[in-house]
Structure formats: structure tokens, C-alpha cells
């Protein structure tokens, strides 16, 4: 009985109940839509229709089934998003390092980091596509820009958050600049760095999909707009909506998972012994 209570009270259960609840509400509306609309599939299909279509072996386009189609377009879009994400992460981290090392670099770059947050970069996607002229590189460029500044600002915040005493400790050991970074700054700022990654990972994916919709090709976004235009069944659209939502959420949790692997101390910190 107490075990049951504990399971019921656990966080996972609460989240699970919510997921089921959201799906139930979806279904209620899907039934209403099915009863009242002429083409319910355009407005809100049933959850099972989406799931079924994903696993169905009927070809949706050419020879590909739904799962194959989505897998290939996912691969195309996500690989570009991932490359852009990596480039943005490296550049963002390097800038944070430089800003922390040099007051001049910080003074120059900081206002621009502020401003770039206020500018709707995603809205500039079409022009970046026009400048690069190539869908692959523009996907990477936008994903990189969107990754770059959250990583940079959060990592810098991490460097700045190192306590005064830790600096004094390093000073009293006569540590070199390199040692300070290896022993104190970099490990200390890892949780902050990951906060940046958690913000930017879903953004990089969104950016990559958005660029897809601007031009033909094989990406998720291209399939999405083709399906909307009636080029293939509407269920392709719905499947992509659901899949991209799941990928966006997973990318966030993936960053959290990597963080836990890198800093196990945080996880073990739960069990306090007196």
C-alpha cells in the first residue's frame, strides 16, 4: 500500500498523468471535429490515426513509407542542425573565454550579445538563405547563430559566478592562468554552459526546419509544406508536427542527460549523509 502511494506520488507519475490528460483532451476534440467537420484530418486527426500512419507500410511518396520518409528527412534536417549547433557551441564558448580573459573583448562584444538577443534572427532566415544561396549552409548558419549567443552569455555568467574565495585560493597557490581555467573556471561553469545548450538545442532544430520550409528539398520542413499544399497525405504533416515536437523536447532532455554524465556530482548530491 505504501509502495503504491509512493509510486503515485512520484514525479514521473505526475508527468505521466499529465501526458495522458493532454492526449485525452486531444481525443475529445478529435471526436468533436470528426463529427462536425467535412475534412477532420485537416483540423485535428485522432491520436491513433497519427500513430497508425507512422507505422503503416503503405507508401506515402514514391516507394517510401511514412516512417522511412520521416527518417530520411529527419536525418537531413537534424544533421545540419547538429553541425550548426556544434559550430555555434564552439564559437560561443570561445567568445565567452575571450570575454573573460580580456576586458576589452568583453566591452566590445557584450552590447552586441545583448542586441542579438533582441533581434528576431529567425525572421531573417530568408535573407540568410539568399546570401548563402544554399539551403544546407543557411540551415547551419542560422542554427549556429541561434546557438552561439545563449551558449556565450550563459558560459560567461558561469565564469563570473566563481566565488571570490576560489580565486583567492588559486592566487595563494600561485596557480598559472592556464591552471585557473582548467581547475576552476571551466569545471565551475559547466552547469551554466549546459543551461545555454538546453536553450539553444530546440532553437537550432526549429531554425533548421524553418529554413526547410523556405525552399524545396528533402528536409522535415519541406515535407511539411508539401503535405500542407496537398502534395501528399495530410497525415505526413501531422506526423511531422508530432515528431518535430518530440525531437525538440528530446533535444532538451538530451542536453540534460549529457550534463548528468559529465557532472555526476550533481546527481549524487541528492543523497546527503550527515
Amino acid at each position: 500500500m505504501t509502495k503504491l502511494k509512493r509510486i503515485l506520488a512520484s514525479k514521473t507519475t505526475v508527468t505521466l498523468v499529465w501526458v495522458v490528460g493532454v492526449m485525452a483532451i486531444w481525443e475529445v476534440f478529435a471526436f468533436i471535429v470528426a463529427a462536425t467537420k467535412r475534412t477532420p484530418i485537416n483540423v485535428l486527426p485522432h491520436v491513433w490515426q497519427i500513430v497508425e500512419s507512422f507505422f503503416s507500410d503503405k507508401a506515402v511518396t514514391g516507394k517510401m513509407t511514412m516512417a522511412q520518409l520521416i527518417a530520411t528527412s529527419c536525418g537531413e534536417t537534424l544533421s545540419r542542425a547538429a553541425i550548426g549547433f556544434l559550430i555555434g557551441t564552439v564559437l560561443g564558448y570561445l567568445l565567452a573565454l575571450l570575454m573573460n580573459m580580456s576586458g576589452i573583448v568583453e566591452k566590445i562584444a557584450f552590447p552586441y550579445l545583448m542586441i542579438i538577443q533582441m533581434i528576431p534572427i529567425l525572421g531573417m532566415a530568408p535573407i540568410i538563405l539568399a546570401i548563402t544561396g544554399d539551403i544546407d549552409s543557411s540551415r547551419m548558419v542560422i542554427a549556429a547563430i541561434l546557438t552561439f549567443y545563449p551558449v556565450s552569455t550563459n558560459t560567461l555568467a558561469g565564469f563570473k559566478a566563481v566565488e571570490k574565495e576560489k580565486h583567492e585560493l588559486m592566487y595563494s597557490y600561485a596557480a598559472t592562468g592556464f591552471q585557473r581555467y582548467i581547475k576552476t573556471y571551466i569545471p565551475f561553469s559547466i552547469p551554466y554552459f549546459f543551461t545555454g545548450l538546453k536553450i539553444s538545442a530546440p532553437m537550432a532544430i526549429t531554425a533548421s526546419i524553418l529554413v526547410d520550409t523556405l525552399q524545396g528539398g528533402n528536409g522535415l520542413g519541406c515535407m511539411l509544406s508539401q503535405s500542407l499544399k496537398g502534395g501528399m497525405t495530410r497525415l505526413v504533416f501531422w506526423d511531422i508536427v508530432v515528431i518535430s515536437a518530440i525531437i525538440g523536447i528530446l533535444s532538451y532532455y538530451l542536453m540534460g542527460l549529457i550534463e548528468k554524465l559529465i557532472c555526476p556530482y550533481k546527481r549524487r548530491g541528492q543523497e546527503v549523509i550527515l
Binding site: 528576431p120 538563405l129 520550409t213 520542413g221
Partner: protein, 266 residues
Amino acid sequence: MTNKARLNLLASVLLPLCVAVLLFILWQTEVLHILLGTDTITLPLPTRIGEIIGQNADAIWEHTQISLRVALGGLVMGSVLGYGIALIATIFPKWGAGGLSIVSAFNAIPIVALAPVINNWTRDISTEVDQRSTVAKMLVVMIFCTASMSINAFRGLTELKPFSEDLMKTYAAKRGTVFLKLRLPNSIPYIFTALKVSVPSSIIGALVSEYFAEDTVGVGRQIRENIVKGQYPTAWAYIAVACIIGIALYAILMLVEHLVMKRRKG
């Protein structure tokens, strides 16, 4: 010491300004074009963009108003909804916290996937294209802005100063009083934290949802349409306007925050 502080301040204004001027010169002298491997057609000179903005001021202002209405309308709706969710979560903490994680999961949904869905749903709201399109766009912005407000407001409503809740209990204060005297004022700084995230996202949401909207209006849509038509200078004019909107709204937010927080400190 004071001289040093003044010099420091001067440097932090002058240094970025110098870079801005340098960038402008590189752009105007077309060195930037060589660096980016592009031409003056795709990336027009700043003076040319300025010219275009001057020539099309009326049309640009009209589209700006449309985008602003969508962004601010959605922002207000999303923030109110987000705060409401945070309130409910505060009243029912156990289930509410789980609900919040669902709401924050919505944040990870690509906006590109969201916009067409909402377009489908709002088809029957009105026979007028501009009306139903505006509603659809606002809803996208709303969903885009809800999560940051609900998460931050929840923190503001629950992360109280130590012992302040106990103090209220010793006064035998009712739940409503605790809310009004303690939780609500405590959440105000957190509201600004949320807005600092959601104000920029409201503009992004407005621009991107315009791409998918039925109605071909708004700053975002104009960027896209003009590029499709090959009118790059006009597209750049709208991009410049989008940047100005973003910076202006953020500046206003900072000003309001400054005023509100100053009054709180007395």
C-alpha cells in the same frame, strides 16, 4: 578611483561604438561583401536601405503596426495565461509542478510546426481573412510566450524569503492575504525575468507565424515576399525595421522594469 571608473564607463561605450562604425565602413565600402562572398544586390549598402525605408515609410509603418499588434496581443494573452497557470500550480503544488513541466515542453515544440496547425483551427472564426489570420498569429505568439511566464511566475509565487510564510502564519493570515501581501509582490521581479525572454520571442513568433498565415501582411511576411520577388533592398528595409522593433520593445521593457523596481525599493 573616480577617474578610473569614469574612464571605464567611457571605454565600454566607445569600444563597441568604434566596432559599429568600423562595420558600417566595411559595409559601405563593400569590403564586407567580399568577406561574405556576396554582392550589393543581395546585401545592399546601408545608405540604400535607409533610402528605401524613407521612400516606403507609409507602407512599412502599416506592416509594422500589424506585426506589433500580433506580437503584443499574443504577448499579453500568453503572459496572462502563463501567470494563470502559475497561480493554479501554486494552489495545487503537487500536480501543478508536473503540469508546468508539460507547459515548458510546449516551449520546445518548433514554432514552424505550430503555426500551420493553428491556421487550420482558426479557419471558422471569421469569414474575413485578415481577422482569422490575426487571431491565428496571436495564438501562435501566445503559446510561444506562455511557458516562460508560467515557469518564472511559479518560482516567484513559491520561492519566498525564508520564514516569511511562517511569519504570515503567526498572524493567522488567510490564504488570500498571504497571496496578496506575500506571493504577489514577490513574483513581480520574476515577471520581468519572464518578459525579458518572451518579449523577443513574441516578435519572432509574430514574424514567423506571418510566413504561414493566409493574409500576406506584416513585417515578417514582407521580408519573405520581397526576397521571393528579388527585391532585396526592400527586404533589408523590413529586416532593419524588425531589428528596430526588437530593440525598441526591449528598451521599453527595461525602462518599465527600472521604474517599477525603483518604486519598490522606495
